[in-house]
């Protein structure tokens, strides 16, 4: 199955990259964007019997740094 892990900075953690992109959007004339936050999406091709618990452990041990990041797991059954 395809598993997508979305990793984002926690609310309140400064995202200078997002801020720069926000500024660039404004420079291009796009109005009405309140804020920009940049994260990453990690796609796993995992065995169908991979447990939710195992996926959660992967996120906590490596894929996300929970000091600064939150993560969300989306599974797409084969």
């Amino acid at each position: 199955m395809k598993v997508r892990v979305f990793v984002n900075l926690k609310p309140g953690v400064l995202d200078p990259q997002g801020r720069a992109v926000h500024h660039a959007l404004e420079g291009l004339g796009f109005a009405g964007v309140e804020d920009v936050r940049i994260g990453r999406m990690i796609e796993l091709d995992a065995a169908d019997d991979t447990t939710d618990e195992a996926l959660d452990t992967m996120c906590r041990q490596l894929l996300a740094n929970t000091v600064i990041e939150n993560y969300r797991i989306e599974k797409e059954p084969a």
Binding site: V13, L14, P16, Q17, A20, Q61, L62, L63, N65, V67, I68
Partner: protein, 225 residues
Amino acid sequence: MSFRTAVITFPGSNCDRDMAVALKTVSGQAPLRVWHGDAELPESLDFIVLPGGFSYGDYLRSGAMAARSPIMRAVIAAAGRGVPVLGVCNGFQVLTEAGLLPGALMRNAGQTFICRTVALTVENTQSLFTAGYDAGQTINIPVAHHDGNYFADDDTLDRIEGDGRVAFRYADNCNGSRRDIAGLLNAAGNVLGMMPHPERAVEPAHGGTDGRALFESAIKALATA
């Protein structure tokens, strides 16, 4: 006096040789060189150093891959036994990713790579790494990093400041680090992580020698331990 020091090299480390030269210059003894894939450290080490660089190309997050490499399990165990561990720059990032120090090092607030000598204020002079400095002393040490912006939540910051674990602060915050933190000790005081490079300020030819006292302090503590 006899002691055994080691510098760990990860793929992408690039300050390991500078660190080895600094240790030899100050102590007179060349450190052992240890490769990241080794499962065990050399026996009876007295001092372990994680050098600067871009281990694993900074994949995923700076220091994230190195922190999970085989040798780090041995380094974490040694740190738990009280063996002094110094992490500089990427080494500091590895220490936070490995959970030996709290917090995380994020992209510099100004988004740019910063490579210049900065002024630091010495905050803690009780540790084995900083005993050779005077409290409140200003020292000049080079930085060279893109991800040196120290972050921890308010509770963690209050706790580490309350325990006197901030070793160095930036006199003029160059990267957005919370509470100007440039160097941080663990609770037991045997692990120090810092973004500035003391090994680049050891000999007059470096343009300054303010980093020398850090190595002298550590080696003096080993010799008398």
